[in-house]
């Protein structure tokens, strides 16, 4: 009996070791839960503090979106109805925010049914359902964060979001319609989380936008270092007529040309459009350093 068992055990052990040694495909990571802090090494002026007025360069917007943005007046943010307007989903993870991701499990099956995200900017919370439920009817209410469902593609969590309220894709007033949809991808590379959002808007974008951001895992002193959410309380801030919405009539935005004058970027480039996002557009720009 011992003489038979011993070779068999060796054989089994050898097979297990062999299979473990060859299971190289399994080394990538997929646990995206935890606390993540943003890195602002790219697009920083656009994110914090935000680009100046009438600068839409690099956005593939439609003429309608451009007109909408040119009519936008920053004083609008002081109107009571707009004071608590938060960054909508396509923009909020570009802003000055931290991100916490938790998994929610079904108490009976212990399978993950959703990922909960807490976004520190304006204390926003969103749910990404990964249990296969469908998106609601087009007539369902729209929210700042929209309705999200997710699925895994390898180690990447792919999130589809609809039902987002009207907002902006650049905080200087470039609009986003409530028909916008997004596809986000959360991919972990070691202790970094690469976040890619693909934005489609049939009303205001001539071509989709792909944006990518990076977050670093928070640990040590940074872990748990969160600013308490502060509820927004609208109040009277302006001396103008009640409920008046500040805006610029067509052709009267005073900031058009201002940055061109200051920086040397041509006005037509600052007005955006899909052509400004392609490398060949560079041939239409001055080669000397910006002023």
């Amino acid at each position: 009996m011992r003489r038979v068992l011993r070779p068999r055990l060796w054989a089994i052990a050898g097979a297990v070791v062999f299979c473990l040694a060859t299971a190289t495909e399994a080394r990538a990571q997929s646990d995206i839960t935890g606390e993540w802090g943003p890195l602002y090494h790219e697009d920083q002026p656009d994110r914090v503090p935000g680009l100046g007025p009438a600068d839409f360069a690099g956005l593939p917007i439609t003429p309608g979106a451009r007109q909408w943005a040119l009519s936008w007046n920053a004083s609008r943010l002081s109107v009571q109805e707009h004071q608590c307007q938060v960054h909508v989903l396509p923009y909020i993870l570009s802003g000055p925010t931290r991100l916490r991701i938790d998994a929610e499990r079904d108490v009976n099956t212990q399978r993950i049914v959703a990922f909960r995200q807490y976004i520190s900017l304006w204390g926003q919370q969103r749910t990404i359902w990964v249990d296969g439920r469908p998106h609601p009817s087009d007539l369902a209410p729209h929210t700042w964060m929209g309705f999200s469902t997710g699925r895994w593609e390898g180690n990447t969590l792919v999130v589809r979001t609809t039902h987002i309220k009207q907002g902006w894709i650049r905080r200087n007033g470039v609009p986003q319609s409530d028909r916008m949809t997004t596809t986000e991808r959360f991919t972990r590379h070691g202790d970094m989380l690469t976040y890619v959002i693909y934005i489609q808007d049939p009303d205001y974008l001539a071509e989709p936008i792909a944006r990518s951001r990076n977050f670093a895992r928070m640990s040590g002193l940074n872990e748990g270092n969160w600013i308490a959410a502060t509820p927004c309380e609208p109040g009277e801030e302006t001396a103008g007529p009640l409920h008046q919405v500040p805006h610029y009539p067509i052709g009267e935005n005073p900031f058009v040309g201002e940055q061109a004058k200051q920086s040397g970027v041509p006005v037509e480039a600052l007005m955006g459009g899909p052509e400004t996002t392609y490398p060949e557009y560079r041939q239409r720009l001055p080669r000397s350093p910006l002023k």
Binding site: D46, N214, P289
Partner: protein, 289 residues
């Protein structure tokens, strides 16, 4: 009696199982064959991020958002384009910056284990060599800072002179196909990232192309003379995808770690879209760009 009779059967099962593994490994023996999709062809960088900094030359001394240390700031402040020599024309096209330069890249397999990356901007050529190494990775240290954790030595610099693109080693970080893992003889519950309990999973093989590069000449992170040194290390992860409108993209996450000029790793991610052909390929030398 039962034990003695089953021994040959055990051996046969084990040999067969190991044979399956060997055949499976042999079937994907080269990096080119391990690619889950055809990544070759022409790709264009869509410049929706850092537009001012990438499409134009930023003003002298503008290094906002770059984690330069004092030495790096002094070097950037000392930049003087009037004193630049023709030999320095390719400094903005070095490996630490080239994927951020607006342009197109052409991916081809030079051999079954070398992926060639050519750029029309600056006429640069990179060779990503798959050599089976296991590089280190970025970790957050106790102070909450991103720091490099050494793995097995990945990049072996040869004696050849440094050039702008350095020496790159690559590997695929492929996640296990959940469908295959579920039916695995030895891992019926899934290995590592298995789908059980994690929510909906799309069948298929997905993953990243991981690249590490050292041994290059010093260059510029930005065209306005923001420097990186020849002691830097560049780590990249390429993630390929197909959007629901049918367009194909990849995002390359680039980490530059430079002990000379940077106080912290410099991290960017850049998006490229697949093009139908090379008709828009517009080769420009460093000086012409």
């Amino acid at each position: 009696m039962t034990w003695r009779l089953s021994a040959p059967l055990w051996r046969a099962v084990l040999v067969a199982a190991m044979g399956v593994q060997v055949v499976a490994l042999a079937a994907q023996s080269t990096p080119r064959e391990q690619a889950r999709l055809d990544i070759t062809g022409y790709w264009v960088s869509i410049v929706t991020e850092d537009w001012h900094e990438r499409m134009m030359t930023p003003r002298h001394g503008d290094y906002a958002s770059l984690p330069l240390n004092d030495t790096g700031k002094r070097a950037a402040d000392a930049w003087d384009p009037a004193k630049a020599t023709p030999a320095e024309a390719c400094k903005p096209f070095g490996v630490a910056a080239i994927m951020r330069v607006p342009g197109r890249v052409h991916l081809t397999w030079e051999s079954p284990s070398i992926l060639k990356v050519e750029t029309d901007a600056g006429l640069q050529t990179r060779r990503l060599v798959f050599d089976g190494s296991a590089p280190g990775r970025w970790r957050t240290n106790a102070r909450g800072e991103l720091a490099w954790e050494e793995g097995r030595p990945a990049v072996r610099t040869s004696a050849r002179p440094r050039d702008w693109q350095g020496q790159s080693v690559a590997r695929w970080d492929i996640a296990p196909d959940p469908a295959a893992v579920r039916t695995s003889l030895f891992f019926p519950g899934g290995v590592g990232t298995g789908p059980d309990g994690a929510g909906l999973v799309t069948p298929g093989r997905f993953g990243s192309l991981h690249v590490e590069t050292v041994g290059f000449r010093a260059g510029y992170l930005r065209r306005n003379g923001v420097p990186y040194s020849d002691q830097a290390r560049v780590t990249e992860d390429y993630d390929f995808r197909t959007e629901d409108d049918g367009t194909r993209w990849f995002t390359v996450t680039t980490v530059v770690d430079d002990p000379v000029y940077l106080a912290a790793p410099f991290v960017t991610s850049t998006d490229f879209r697949k093009e139908n052909d090379g008709s828009k390929w517009r080769p420009l030398s460093c000086a012409e760009y």
